[in-house]
Amino acid sequence: MKDTPYWNPRHETMPREELEALQVRKLRNLVEWAGTQVPFHAKRLSDAGVTADSIESLDDLQRIPFFTRDEWMGGQLEQPPYGPILAAPEEAAIRYHMTSGTTGRTPIRVLDSMKDWEWIAEMWCYGLWGFGVRPIDRVFIAFGYATFIGFWGLHYASEKMGCLTLPGGAMTTEQRVRTIEEMGATVVASTPTYALRMAQEARALGIDLASGPVERLILSGEPAGSIPATKKLIEEQWGAKAGDTAGMTELGTIMVFECEAQPGGTHIIEDHYIEEVVDPETGEPVGYGEQGERVVTSFGRGFIPVLRYRTRDLVVKVPGAGCACGRTFDIYDGGIRGRVDDMKLVRGTNVYPRAVEAIVREIPEIDEFQIRLYTAEGIRDEIEVLVEVPDEGADVDGILARLGKELAGAHESLRFGVRQAETGSLPRFELKAKRLVDERELIGGEGEKRG
């Protein structure tokens, strides 16, 4: 095997002109595929007058209509369980995953074929290799291994690369920390918040992580992996380098990764995606260095073609040429900086206030409610829902238990605290209600909370 810092040297160092020509060709193929296999996309493309043959440059991308999460979810509600977006028959799938949705009742459900699943791992290989992980490494994955896609792709990437892969599902934090120590893990994958939680547990157990064998942390699931103060804290506590990544269930994998040079942001995997940055209000493109909304087009997952998907993530794109690593892939300076909408990330899980409200409102005994996000023990994101139950004869314990169970069920088993508030104590709203209070400190918080 060649000794190279790149997973795919051919593409990662490709001159921009060639890279853009490759993207145009792949876009043409994607439009052809989506237009012939998915009637939903065929109509949208046809209505916009877009055919594969008519795509000559990246400027033509802007003729393709945006695709939104609401449209995706609306399609699923009309044609459950997957909506009108599949490009291949369900029988061709080997994997099912989901992520919490915006309605509280319907998650986004996705399928992948064997080839797509290999591709999902392939994207993680760009990130792992690019951050210095090698076949000799022992990779511990602190992850729940359920229907949430999370680090599934990283697990398969680690195997593909030949690393000793240590699955950390169904373990307590103590068991995870002890396994990391006992097995001599050199790489640990987790959310930023959980990396700090494990460090805290290690201290309580008398384990000095900083003098141990862990050399690299692969972070994902929260923006904090690119927040300098949080990254510094994690690196100090583990005595290891921390690299940020970001992905989405809608893509099945990561679309950006931080390289070993740690340029203060994440490289976009531009041979597999086109990432546009647009003004969230007008949809018009913004230039390098300007903050805007990510819009993604993905070439990899053929089962669910993704064309100009509005992510609602806020980013600032800068040229990759500024990075010492030699990649030509552009960079999201500061990673994912925040959200256009009201979605919150809590321990790696998407939480939409409107989805929580939809669940709360199904319990008629609850009169008013408030969602509270806070930082526990200085390191951990927590979410709780305070509810007023004015009827003194109501079974409050039963209501709280039901609500907690239903909220967790709609959010990838995320643990919600559910408490009764004194009747009349929560704020009332006449116009635009603000029932979410985010009291989190910098660590694990959203991009807009950076210091």
Partner: protein
């Protein structure tokens, strides 16, 4: 586009041959032969794709 080397060309040929076997002689394959060949095809698709060979999709092959 950059030229591909001899080793890469051989991998691309293996991919095409594997795909052809799965498309044309599937009925002759035992379960262990077919499923392992499909897994290999899905992996080699990543190579063909990384070499810019426009490998298309594989759903009709079952991968």
């Amino acid at each position: 586009m950059a030229e591909i080397g001899e080793a890469q060309r051989e991998l691309a040929e293996i991919y095409e041959r594997l795909k052809a076997v799965l498309q044309e002689r599937r009925g002759e394959l035992a379960p262990y032969e077919e499923r392992n060949a499909l897994k290999a095809l899905a992996a080699l698709w990543q190579v063909a794709n990384g070499l810019d060979l426009d490998p298309g999709q594989l759903y009709d092959s079952g991968a």
